[in-house]
Structure formats: C-alpha cells, structure tokens
C-alpha cells in the first residue's frame, strides 16, 4: 500500500510540474465547452430561396408573400430566368429554387389545376428534405386557402397536429449538446493522458528502472490510473457545475449522485482503453496515432452529433461497442430527463463489462519481463 502512495505522489508531481500540459488538460476543455455548443445548432432556419416568376400574376404574388411571411425562408433572388436562379445554387447563395411557370393563374381558373417546380440543392440531404417539406406545407396551405376563398363550404376535412415537446419545450440545442460535448472532452483528457504517459516512460527508459524494483504490476498500473481518474472527475465537475451551470444554465434534473456513479465507472473503462493503447505501443508517436484513430471513432460513432438509428446495421454494432455512446446517452438522460437508476440499469451493466474487459486485457498485456 505504501509503495502505491509513493507512486501517486510521483505521478501527481510530474503532472503539476508541466505547466503546458496542465493548461492543455484544464483550460482547453473549459474553453471548448464554452464555445463549441454554440456552434452545434442543427435547426434549419433561414433557408435561402430564389423564386423564378414567369407568371407575374396575382396568385403568384400572393404565394410569394405567403412564403416570405412564413418565417422559414429568406428570399435572396426574385427573377424571371431559371438560369439565374440555378447559378445561385451553384454559388451556394441559395438552397432552393421555386419556379412559377407562365400561365399558373389562368391554368388554375380554366383547368382547375396548375403546377409548380421546386429544385433543391441536396448536397446536404437533411437540409434539402426539411426545406422541401416546409415549402410543400406552405404551398398546400396556400392551395387550401385559395380554394376556400373561391368556393366556401366544400373544401374537405383536415387533420391538424398538436405538438408537445417534453423535457426541452423551447427546443434549446445547447441543453442537448453541452452534456454530450463534455463527455468527449473528459474522454480525451483521461484517455490520451494515460495512453501517452506509460509509453513516455517506455521511450525514455525509466520503465526499465521500475521493472527491476519489487513494485507489483497492479500497483504500478494503479499508480498510473488513479491520477488521471481524479483529473477526469475534476474536469467533469468543472464542466458540469461551472461552465454548464453558469454559461448555459444547465442544472441536472436527475440525481447528481447517479451521474457521478456512472462517471466513476466510465472513467475506469476509458482509462482501461488508454492503458491498452499504451501496452501495444513502443513510442509516443505510435500511442498517439492509435489514440487519434480510436478517438475519431469514439466521437463520430457515438451518436453525439448524428443519430445511431439511421446508421446501417453493421455501423450500429460499432456504436454499441463504443463506451462513449453509453455515457453520452446516460448524460442526456440524467441531466435532461431525470432518468433514474432503473432506467439505465442496462447502461451500467454494459459499462461495467467494458471496464472489466479493457483493464484485464491491458494488465495481461503489460509485461514486466520479456
């Protein structure tokens, strides 16, 4: 036990002795947590629209007014030439083009039907879908209105939709993003630091000296893990109860105790990953490349930014094998929905499994002798 004390003392000294590293692991997460959530806004608003009006009729004019007053669209160009509007799409100045053909009004009156053409810049598929959907709804509504005006009485039955948004009635994106981004930052601090730290001792040669001492393997590893575990908890606390609370006004709805319980378990699993990386690397360069690779997958396959359900089946399996996935979910559930232990039992069991497998694997793979 007392050898562990000396190991811990040494590790903490080395961490605090290097101001650059200390700054990186404390200030960088805080700054990123302050700034990044502001950038993470999926909401599709201010869709730019160019309208090609070849009809110049009253109906066309009314329709354009309807679109402009809907609040979803910004009219960037009103023209009579489709080519002009299309070049707006090419130059990214507009997202959607509505073409009103010559004779819309007269067709509607004479033949009781007319047509409109919409072209959407679909490079970003979601934006294209949403833009198209908004425009369709506005035009359908407009259609019902002119019908009602001309022919009151018979305009068919309609179904309305009443939406209630639970847990986040104002649809605030930051409430959703801050907990998730915090998870990634804590993961990076704890994971990188462990992975790089042991390899550094290998590269510099001090690990040889440690290996000829009677230090027990488990003590040495604990001596490496505990400081970064503490650091992880500290960064998390700083993020959750200083940045998230003061800047974003986020107060966890659920139990703080439960949140920390999960954090404690999660950190053990992530430190295990770092340890595993370091046992497979001989140089810091290798450890770094490996952790970079893992971290990219951890972040992008965690459902932090994109939905896991819409991934192909095989990719969902990768997401299921990613510890970050579970903590991101648990954070959002506890913080925003007030989920309790019974709701996240599955998450606890899986994380305990990760923690066990990664650490045992790493300890087996770490050899004092060759």
């Amino acid at each position: 036990m007392s050898t562990l004390k000396y190991l811990l003392q040494k590790e903490f000294r080395q961490i605090f002795r290097n101001p650059t590293i200390l700054r990186m692991i404390l200030i960088v997460p805080v700054v990123q947590l302050i700034i990044l959530p502001l950038a993470a806004d999926f909401e599709i608003k201010n869709i730019n629209i160019s309208i090609v009006d070849n009809d110049r009729s009253v109906v066309a004019h009314d329709l354009i007014e309807e679109i402009k007053s809907s609040g979803y669209f910004k009219l960037v160009n009103y023209t009579h030439d489709y080519q002009v509007a299309f070049s707006d799409i090419e130059s990214d100045e507009t997202d959607i083009v509505l073409e009103i053909p010559d004779g819309l009004e007269s067709d509607l009156i004479r033949e009781q039907k007319g047509s409109l053409f919409i072209a959407v810049n679909a490079i970003n598929g979601t934006k294209a879908y949403v833009g198209g959907a908004y425009l369709t709804r506005i035009i359908t509504g407009f259609n019902q209105d002119i019908r009602a005006e001309l022919n009151p009485g018979n305009n068919g039955a309609s179904i309305g939709v009443a939406v209630i948004n639970w847990f986040n009635p104002l649809l605030n994106y930051q409430f959703f993003m801050v907990p998730g981004i915090l998870v990634v930052l804590v993961t990076m601090v704890a994971g990188y630091m462990t992975a790089l730290n042991i390899v550094k001792e290998k590269e510099v040669g001090t690990i040889e000296q440690i290996n000829v001492t009677p230090i027990r393997k488990t003590h040495f590893i604990l001596g490496k893990l505990i400081p970064f575990w503490v650091l992880g908890v500290f960064v998390f606390t700083l993020g959750m109860f200083v940045v998230a609370r003061i800047i974003y006004g986020i107060v966890p709805l659920g139990s703080v105790f439960l949140l920390y319980g999960y954090l404690a378990l999660y950190l053990v699993a992530i430190l295990g990953v770092g340890l595993l990386i370091s046992t497979y690397s001989n140089t810091q360069q290798q450890a770094m490349s490996l952790s970079f690779f893992m971290m990219m997958i951890f972040i992008l396959m965690s459902g932090l930014f994109t939905s896991i359900e819409s991934m192909p089946r095989w990719a969902q399996w990768i997401a299921a094998l990613n510890p970050v996935t579970y903590f991101v979910q648990v954070m959002r559930m506890i913080v925003m929905k007030g989920s309790e232990f019974e709701h996240i039992t599955r998450h606890f069991v899986i994380m305990a499994g990760f923690a066990f497998v990664f650490n045992v694997w790493a300890i087996i793979n770490y050899k004092k002798t060759s």
């Binding site: 003392q9 002795r17 510099v204 009677p214 002798t369 060759s370």
Partner: protein, 247 residues
C-alpha cells in the same frame, strides 16, 4: 561468508528465434566481489544482465541470484538487487530529492529511514545546493553518480551497473569508481559492464564474452599472464578479434 555465491549460473541460455544471444554461460560471483562483465558490442552482455535482473526469462539453464531462482522468484530477486541502466533512468522532471524519495518509497523503506539516508546521500554527493533542482538540469556526471547512489539506496546485496561511466569525464570516472569501491567495502556485491579497460583493472575478477559465450574468466593479473599481455587492452583485443558478431 566469503564463499557465499551471490550469482550462480549453469548453462544459462537465451535465444531469440534462431539467434542465440547468450550461449550456455556458467559462472559464479562471490559475495563482496567486484565482478567485471566484459565483451564487445553485441556479445550478449546486456541480454545476460537482463536475465540476471529478472527482466527477461531465460530460454534454458539455471541461475540463482542471492539464492533466488531466476524463473520462479523474480520478485524476491528484485527486493535484493539494485540496477543502473545504460540509458539514464531517473525521472528528469522530478527534483533530486523527489527522485530519492520516490525510489526509496517503492523499495518499501520507512519514512524516517528515507529522510536520514537522503540527508546522508546528499551530503556525500555534495548536492545540498542542488537538491531541489530538476534532475534534467544536472550535468551528466552528477546524474550518473546520483543514479548509482539511488540504485544502492535501499542497501541491496547486489547491484548491476550497465556501462555506468559512458560519456563521463576521467575525473568523474575516478570518483565514480571510488563510490563503487566504497559500496563494495560496505558489503555490496558489484556486477559491472564496461568498455574502459582501465576500469577492468579495478575489478576483482572479470569475464570476457564473445559471440554469446564466456571465453575467459579470471582476475585481471591472471588473465594478463595467461595471454602474455602487458595490459587488459591487449587481452581484450586478443579475445574479441575472433568475434563474428558485431553490432
């Protein structure tokens, strides 16, 4: 006591695939001896030494260190030995005092003991003004002397020194050997590798490794007589000339 064997090996062998790094070496080191372990680069010295320290498991043969078996009792061996590697192995980002305290601590010394011995050590090395400096900022000679002191800080029975004086000036080298002699007088057995033949003269006995074998083993005086040589340099040259392996 003098007859007690600190190191005893019988046909100790280590192979890496087809390559026989250490080939059936058999020798004993008595307690209190200064034993020089010589050989050209690539002769297998470091591999042999790593086996004796418990860092590497032998392929075959037997060896005991301070009475403990190198296969089964590596952790007991580690309690009883000190080690100073070729690569400088103190923490450069810890101070002199912190390094001493750390290594004392992991050998399980009591707090009071660590304090008393540190004071003694710092006085002996005349490092009082430098004890709070980072080790990384010390000149190489001082680092090496400090590394040696740390290696014997827990009073091991036996200490392994792997080319401890590489890159050090002659005066420091002289002082370093004074420290080795002092440790030997205190009853610590010394096992040292070196490329300096004047240092070989300071040893009680030396062995010469060539291509994984021990080719000669005796006191410096006997060896010179045996090879009809004026100096250890000539002995070394005579033996190493036939080597097929070089690094």
């Amino acid at each position: 006591m003098n007859s007690q064997k600190m190191i005893s090996t019988r046909d100790l062998t280590k192979t890496f695939g087809d390559f026989v790094a250490v080939n059936n070496i058999t020798f004993d080191v008595r307690q209190g001896e200064i034993f020089g372990f010589l050989g050209a680069n690539g002769a297998g010295k470091t591999t042999a030494m790593r086996m004796l320290c418990g860092l590497s498991i032998p392929t075959s043969g037997e060896a005991t260190i301070a009475g403990y078996d190198v296969y089964k009792e590596t952790e007991k061996i580690k309690q009883n030995i000190g080690y100073m590697s070729q690569k400088f192995s103190l923490y450069e980002d810890l101070t002199v005092a912190e390094n001493i305290r750390f290594f004392g601590g992991i050998y399980g010394l009591k707090n009071g003991e660590i304090k008393a011995r540190s004071r003694e050590l710092i006085n002996a090395l005349d490092l009082n003004d430098q004890k709070d400096l980072l080790v990384g900022s010390l000149p190489l000679g001082w680092k090496q002397k400090l590394a040696f002191s740390v290696a014997i800080f827990h009073h091991p029975k036996l200490v392994f020194l792997d080319e401890p004086t590489g890159g050090v000036d002659p005066v420091t080298r002289r002082q370093f050997w004074d420290m080795i002699n002092q440790a030997s007088e205190d009853g610590i057995t010394i096992f040292v590798t070196t490329h300096y033949m004047d240092e070989a003269e300071y040893c009680d006995r030396i062995s010469m490794m060539v291509d994984g074998y021990i080719r000669a083993l005796d006191s410096p005086a006997q060896l010179k007589k045996q090879y009809n040589a004026e100096s250890m340099d000539e002995v070394f040259y005579e033996l190493a000339r036939g080597a097929k392996r070089t690094e």
